[in-house]
Symmetry: C2
Subunit: 220 residues, 2 copies
Amino acid sequence: MGTSSEIVETPPLTAKGQATRDRIVAAAARLIFERGVAGTGVEDVKSAAGVSSSQLYHYFADKQELVHAVIAHQSEAVVDGQQPLLGRLDSIEALRAWRDQAVAIQRSLHCQGGCPIGSLAGELAETDPESRARIAAGFARWEQAIAQGINAMHERGDLPAEIDPEELALAILAAHQGGLILTQVRRDPAPLEAVLDAIVDHVASLHSRARREPISSLDG
Amino acid sequence: MGTSSEIVETPPLTAKGQATRDRIVAAAARLIFERGVAGTGVEDVKSAAGVSSSQLYHYFADKQELVHAVIAHQSEAVVDGQQPLLGRLDSIEALRAWRDQAVAIQRSLHCQGGCPIGSLAGELAETDPESRARIAAGFARWEQAIAQGINAMHERGDLPAEIDPEELALAILAAHQGGLILTQVRRDPAPLEAVLDAIVDHVASLHSRARREPISSLDG
DNA sequence: GTTTTTCTGGACTGTCAAATCCAGAACGCG
DNA sequence: CGCGTTCTGGATTTGACAGTCCAGAAAAAC
């Protein structure tokens, strides 16, 4: 896995150089999260990171490449930021706890910013194919993290056998994204709560169905 | 309802003038749908609509105002484009038909563009508060259209009494949005299918629960 | 039919942000 | 301690693009 176009190359890079690069990416990520890609100038990034033009263009060929680095950075941050809950979504209680966490995060941000990856998606999907592909990869990692727990439930027999766990994980991710967008636009956590409650209830309903029919019949 | 800041004013406007204005908005809406707000220059809109600078700035004070008009335009188009199904989501079959329609639309677009309102949301929510409010209003209309049918089911006793129909409608809208984003990013209708199936199944499960307990107890 | 308002053409301007360039400093390495 | 590579500073160029202006055509008003 991962033979083709992950990250093209990273010419050596000194310890100090790496630090500067990281500082630039971190500053860019923060600004872009707050103001969007189009709303964030290279100039803003420079002053926020405390670097000069030549430094920035020493590490990144152009703004687009910087954006790509930000996508990678946020893809990690988003998954890491939801741990340890995200990696263990293998029970209804775990799902509810994760739901509460997601809602709490939005509340603490006053429902601003939305999803660090999702908002990039809306802005870049039709603009830059390379970005679109990288965002898709970020979502894939996220989806996989969710699928881990759902798969565990499934194998344990806590979900009906005919259910596709990957599909369910995908639905959970999609629900989360949709909730985030509406919550961001309305500046109100209600949509996120509503959709996460609905999807978790749905999983719970599948769970109780599985326990009622421990071994499902093979034909429909 | 709607006493305050709907549309500020529209100085008279001749029949021909109205036509030109509409042409500009339609062209802008199409381009923005395809390339995003930041990716669409005023110049592009001018040539696409076949108008000159002075015409465009005769009808709109600046690009931002044009964007606002596009938001209003798409808010209508999105709801209208889903009729008559959207207005009658008052049964499980209707929900499934609507789901199929939503998926079919994405297929026909090759999963490009996402949601005409949703993608605007991602791009403008943190950039322009005025746009954010107008997008929220657009979503509200959409939500209301969904709620109509859900409310009908609820009043008919097809959903458990303790369920809040508005909340469920909000969850359906959010699920749709999330599915659209992932579908757009992955260029694959699977996420939309997965999340809409999940949410419709959830409603179906509520439905069968309601029919099992036709009159619910008043206390929790 | 003249007068007034609305509408249109297209050249022009100003701004602002992305990207370049030429040094020169710091650092790694033998 | 030389020698090359990596890294940094900041002035400068370039170009795109939002927005302006004035003059004239078309339509409405009376």
